[in-house]
């Protein structure tokens, strides 16, 4: 009887410790990966430097679309920009920029200095529309296919590895 109790308690404790041990090695940074596989919402985004709105559904005309949220005040955006320029040379991929809570003049200077990789550039000065894409800080980048399905979501600046991954996906 005593032994049975002992074994039960020990097994429960072991279970607890194993899970806690595994949790130690988990990355704690929250990424909205749950959005992968979902279709993007129907949203109208204002053009950056002209009146009128861009309907995000129009990207079904492109094979692959990379939706990039950036701002001139954001340091990491500066870091990842060269990767965007590199990716923009790819004919299979169109990059759509969303200028996030930014000052127009600063943003234009930023592009002048760093190059403009964006096929279409839109803006979200209040950041409210970006909520529809699950954006909570920039830079964030979303890879979308022809069927408007989200294939990949990158929180934080794109790395070399991410660029290679994107290139692999769009080759197919």
């Amino acid at each position: 009887m005593k032994k049975k109790y002992l074994v039960t308690i020990y097994s429960i404790a072991i279970f607890f410790f194993v899970v806690l041990y595994l949790s130690l090695n988990k990355n704690n940074i929250y990424t909205t990966q749950e959005n992968i596989g979902k279709k993007i919402s129907v949203i109208q985004l204002n053009y950056f430097d002209k009146p009128g709105e861009f309907n995000i559904q129009e990207i079904s005309n492109f094979n692959f679309t990379l939706l990039n949220f950036w701002a001139s005040w954001c340091g990491p955006c500066r870091k990842e920009h060269k990767h965007l320029v590199e990716l923009s040379r790819n004919s299979n991929l169109k990059i759509i920029g969303v200028n996030f809570k930014d000052d127009k003049k600063n943003a234009m200077e930023f592009l002048k200095e760093m190059g403009n990789p964006f096929f279409i550039l839109t803006k979200d000065p209040e950041g409210k529309k970006s909520v529809n894409f699950g954006i909570y800080g920039i830079p964030e980048t979303i890879l979308i296919n022809k069927d408007l399905k989200i294939l990949k979501k990158y929180v934080g600046p794109l790395s070399d590895k991410d660029v290679r991954e994107i290139q692999r996906i769009i080759k197919k």
Partner: protein, 625 residues
């Protein structure tokens, strides 16, 4: 210089702890009745050297010796002296040293205060306590050394996070550690009692003062922590069911349970194993809390810097501790003495324990569930205040009722009638007064109001009785009264809180309900470690024709660069007015948040009363001994 001195002193105290282990073990086999003088001498040097290492660290902070990584990372020359000192325990390494100091302090006090106890019982306690001490010292020296050197020596430190530069937060860790690290001593006592087969009465008498002391400090520590959160974090709340807060609450529930069940153990024979289990669990929960806070597996408002290797060490220690204490328990647990009757006071105390363990379970489940779910399935969910409120609030009703009626029962046996008395009648009348004046709030909340007034009136009557009858336990009455008042104040605070947030420019005026808020002036100034934007607001209460001036601030600290939002609080006896502001980026618009927080003082005061009960209990014990 200080570094090598600090390391040597800590190493010596580790050696002393190991020698104490050896000496105590050796002394067990000797047949004399008294503990050898040598052990006292070693214990004395141990506490001396441990204190010395802590003092060394404090000195390093005071003179800003940046050759120590720890000082460099957490201090700055421009910091006021008080915060230089408190900075010593405001970080992982330094607070670990404080941990060890408290372990040693309790071990030493136990040794000198229990002169006439059974020798082997004492020796085993010292052995277990020193096992804890030496493990933590090894952890300190190998993994989290506050005396580690930095080269080249920087000329300036990185500074202490400004929200931690606060008097409440300076005393919060020592209070809390005296509470839950203090529980280590009855962990050791419990294991020693099992092995040496100490009888229940002397176990109860040995444990009781330590339980009251640690419980009192734990209560005070939690109080100071929530006062700090209330005025410093700038959201007007005082309890958020945050994992770190939960970590301090979990041992508290068990200490409360223990505080009650020890009463039974002392007066009559029973609950021996249960008290032992509770003692072991309390310290286990303290270590679990430490693990959760320091391993970085949780997402919390108050975080320590994360480092998985720390987590791994604490987890291994915890596992070792749990497995060996379960083993010892099963090997030595005696057969229980059975002599009970239903509706006796013991049953009520067991019901208290049932509730406390249940509360503990809820908090533990709420804290760990997201971690477990994430680890096992990769799904992330949040568990927050709505969960705890929903699960726990209904259980407050029976708890409050039992706190009122339970203590009215005599020892051995009694019957249920007699509970429904004048106190209940009074509180029902009071309840209707409330009901008519409130008109809103859910049924549950109203019932909680009723039951807490019942508890308050009943304990007030009990209090009058103590003048006639000196034998009544005053500490119980005061703590229970405090708890009733706490629940009442929290409920009223919930009901009558007013909140309004709006955007405003300088010169704007905002009208709502009976209030007018004028944004009169904006002032910028800088002090030696921060720059500040201060808003001058006038709040006019049209119903009571009172005008108050409040000045919330946005501070930008330079070392380290941090923005803090300083709430401006006007405290009145019955109600606080709480104002914060934040600027909306790239504009001259400010987001202003106005809050009316009634009965805050009553909340703080009632927790003070609860802990005061603990102090009285301790003093009563002293008198009797």
């Amino acid at each position: 210089m200080l570094s090598s001195f600090g390391i040597s002193v800590s190493t010596i105290s580790l050696l002393l702890s190991l020698s104490l282990l050896y000496l105590s073990y050796y002394d067990l086999k000797l047949s004399n009745n008294k503990i050898s003088k040598k052990i006292y001498k070693f214990a004395f040097s141990q506490i001396l050297f441990t204190f010395l290492s802590f003092i060394t660290l404090i000195i390093a902070y005071v003179i800003s010796d940046f050759s120590l990584i720890n000082v460099y990372e957490n201090s700055h020359t421009t910091k006021p002296l008080f915060y230089k000192i408190s900075g010593a325990w405001g970080n992982h390494e330094g607070s670990l040293l404080l941990w060890i100091n408290i372990l040693v302090l309790f071990s030493f006090l136990f040794l000198i205060l229990n002169k006439d106890k059974n020798k082997n019982f004492k020796l085993y306690t010292i052995i277990f306590q020193n096992l804890l001490i030496s493990t933590f010292l090894i952890f300190l020296l190998t993994n989290s050394n506050p005396f580690s050197l930095l080269y080249p020596i920087p000329t300036e430190g990185m500074g202490l996070n400004p929200i931690l530069q606060d008097p409440a937060l300076a005393i919060h860790p020592p209070l809390l550690y005296l509470g839950f690290v203090g529980s280590s001593i009855y962990f050791s006592i419990a294991l020693a009692a099992l092995i040496t087969k100490v009888d229940s009465k002397s176990l109860a008498l040995t444990i009781k003062p330590w339980v009251s002391v640690s419980w009192t400090f734990q209560t005070l520590g939690i109080l100071v922590g929530s006062i700090w959160a209330y005025y410093e974090l700038g959201w007007g709340g005082f309890w958020f069911w945050d994992p770190v807060e939960n970590s301090s609450l979990m041992p508290w529930f068990l200490m409360t349970a223990l505080l009650h069940s020890v009463l039974v153990l002392e007066r009559r024979i029973g609950l021996y194993s249960w008290v032992i289990i509770l003692s072991i669990l309390t310290f286990t929960m303290s270590v679990v809390g430490t693990f959760l806070v320091r391993s970085g597996i949780l997402n919390s408002v108050h975080t320590f810097a994360n480092d998985p290797s720390r987590g791994l060490f604490i987890l291994s220690f915890l596992a070792l501790m749990v497995f060996s204490s379960i083993f010892i328990f099963f090997k030595y647990a005696p057969a229980e003495n059975k002599n009970y009757k239903i509706f006796s006071k013991e049953s009520f105390i067991l019901i208290n324990n049932w509730f406390m363990v249940f509360f503990l379970a809820v908090v533990l489940i709420g804290t760990l569930y997201p971690v477990f779910l994430d680890t096992l399935t990769g799904q992330k969910i949040s568990v927050g205040p709505p969960y705890y409120n929903f699960i726990l609030a209904p259980f407050l009703l029976p708890l409050l009722f039992l706190m009122t009626s339970g203590p009215k029962h005599k020892w051995i046996s009694s019957n249920v009638i007699g509970i429904f008395n004048i106190a209940l009648f009074t509180s029902i009348i009071l309840f209707f007064v409330f009901f008519l004046s409130i008109k809103e709030g859910g049924l549950l909340l109203l019932l909680i109001l009723l039951f807490s007034t019942y508890l308050i009136t009943q304990t007030t009557f009990d209090f009058y009785e103590t003048f006639k009858n000196k034998n009544i336990n005053l500490s119980r009455i005061i703590s229970h009264f405090g708890f009733g008042l706490l629940i009442l104040s929290i409920s009223l605070n919930q009901i009558f809180s007013v909140e309004k947030s709006f955007n405003a420019r300088l010169g704007d005026e905002k009208n709502f309900l009976n209030y007018t808020i004028k944004f009169n002036n904006l002032e910028t100034f800088s002090k030696n470690n921060f720059k500040s934007v201060k808003g001058h607001f006038e709040i006019i209460d049209k119903k009571n024709i009172i005008s108050q001036k409040l000045t919330p601030e946005i501070r930008v600290y330079n070392q380290p660069e941090t923005i803090t939002y300083e709430a401006s609080i006007n405290t009145k006896l019955f109600s606080d007015t709480y104002l914060t502001m934040s600027n909306i980026s790239n504009t001259d618009i400010f987001n202003v948040k106005f809050q009316k927080k009634p009965f805050m003082n009553f909340i703080w005061f009632s927790v003070l009363l609860i802990s005061f009960g603990g102090i009285l209990q301790f003093l009563r014990l002293k008198k009797r001994v």
